[in-house]
């Protein structure tokens, strides 16, 4: 929300948001490795300060069990996307509704919860759904930052598909179909859930 205030005033935010947005996923993953790898910069700083003795003392965030590096890379990449989508809607809506609520005595929290949030919900829901389905099937970042085994569904499917042994290909296609069905089911559940929680009359698509 503070972002909108800033965006209204300056072109700079709008321009700055373009950088992570156009940053290719593998490049973001590469930049991230420098920070979150066990020998990354924060770990080196901790070593310089005498806090740790060796890289193994820091929790692994790359090729780790929980995919923390993958999550972080996507959060950094997709937050600007959702922000831009929401900003575009906010810019169009203007400030009139909020000002009306303020005149009627609504507090900052009330203005956000009952005025702004319902207004931007469609943009947030649809863009986050796009992000979700994109990441569910995405490949490069888990390929670069994930563990070799057990790998993410998309990585397994891709490797079986391109395996020199063509007999593994039907299995890969089955995995792809499975992930399509899963995506569809989860997207449906998500739209239902947000509809119930936010009291929107129908799922927002366009």
């Amino acid at each position: 929300m503070g972002l909108r205030e800033a965006a209204r005033r300056s072109r700079v935010v709008n321009l700055l948001l373009q950088i992570p947005l156009s940053m290719p996923h593998p490049a973001m993953a590469g930049a991230l490795i420098t920070v979150v790898a066990p020998s990354g910069l924060p770990a080196r700083a901790a070593f310089a300060l005498g806090l740790i003795a060796q890289p193994a003392d820091v929790p692994a965030l790359v090729n780790d069990r929980y995919g923390a590096g993958i999550v972080l890379a996507y959060v950094l990449k997709e937050v600007p996307f959702i922000a831009l989508m929401t900003l575009a809607l906010l810019a169009r809506l203007g400030e009139d509704y909020e000002q009306a609520a303020r005149v009627l005595g609504a507090s900052a929290w009330q203005r956000f919860r009952f005025v702004t949030l319902p207004l931007v919900a469609p943009a947030v829901i649809s863009s986050s759904l796009l992000v979700f389905t994109f990441i569910f099937g995405a490949f490069e970042v888990p390929y670069l930052l994930g563990r070799p085994y057990p790998a993410m569904l998309s990585v397994v499917a891709q490797q079986r598909y391109l395996d020199a042994n063509l007999a593994t290909r039907p299995g890969a296609i089955a995995l792809a179909v499975l992930s399509t069905l899963l995506t569809a089911a989860l997207a449906w559940a998500y739209l239902r859930l947000t509809r119930v929680l936010l009291g929107l009359d129908r799922p927002f698509i366009l």
Binding site: L21, P26, L84
Partner: protein, 255 residues
């Protein structure tokens, strides 16, 4: 207060990865526990621009595919968006759903299906085939964005121009096009960016014959030369950022 925090967060998010990549690309070696690279060098950059790296052909392949994708994507999206925004017809929701399907389907699944089809028509391992496969993801986005532009434009402007004696082309040229130009620029840039960053589709449909920048980059990242991977990341980012910057000012009005 919240404004400052937000501004700082955005700048950090935008600038820090760039600085890290730049430092990495200029480091001769950067082992534990040095905080800064002990020796700087242009080795990675020299390699990236040398013929041996084959970065230039990859750059040209990426660029030609992205342009081959952007133009048809916009040409298909324009009339579709115009109808979706202005007309009400039976089954409109079904059309919109069908339009969104490629976006909601995992790209891997869509590409595998297309791969089987392209094998039959001899489109695999070709530039055109790769560009066609990128269109699957770009047309829906371009159409949705242009539908937004058209729905904020009153169809009566066209009718008015026609009443005043303008022919179809003149209406398009002097009324519709100027009104949706910002939206058109944004849609085209999105199409370009989506194609620019495709990895999996290019890998499967191009069959390793069509090598674009993302493919080169990922192979260097897996290959382990971090300096070259970082330099390549910046080469990969620059055109995309240039495109995004050039349309950023339309994002507020146009979308």
């Amino acid at each position: 207060m919240g404004k400052r925090v937000a501004l700082a967060a955005v700048s950090g998010l935008a600038v820090i990865p760039l600085l890290l990549l730049a430092a990495r690309s200029l480091a001769q070696s950067w082992f534990w526990p040095s905080l800064l690279p002990p020796v700087w060098s242009l080795r990675a950059w020299q390699y990236v621009f040398s013929p041996a790296a084959e970065v230039l052909p990859a750059l040209m392949a990426s660029l030609s595919i992205a342009l081959l994708v952007t133009l048809p994507a916009v040409l298909v999206a324009l009339p579709a968006a115009r109808v979706l925004a202005w007309r009400e017809f039976r089954g409109k929701r079904a059309v919109i759903f069908a339009l969104l399907l490629p976006v909601l389907t995992p790209p891997l699944a869509a590409t595998m299906g297309v791969h089987a089809l392209f094998l039959r028509y001899g489109l695999t391992d070709t530039l055109i085939g790769v560009a066609l496969s990128h269109l699957i993801a770009t047309v829906p986005y371009a159409t949705l964005m242009l539908t937004g532009s058209f729905s904020r434009l009153d169809p009566d402007y066209e009718a008015q121009a026609r009443t005043l004696g303008a022919n179809g082309f003149a209406v398009l040229r002097h009324v519709t096009f100027p009104a949706i130009a910002p939206g058109l620029a944004v849609a085209a840039s999105f199409a370009f960016l989506i194609s620019w960053s495709q990895y999996l589709t290019t890998l499967l449909i191009g069959g390793g014959r069509i090598v674009t920048l993302p493919l080169t980059l990922v192979s260097f990242q897996r290959g382990g030369d971090e300096a070259i991977a970082a330099a390549l990341s910046l080469v990969f980012l620059a055109p995309a950022a240039a495109v995004a910057f050039s349309v950023a000012r339309f994002l507020k009005e146009g979308k």
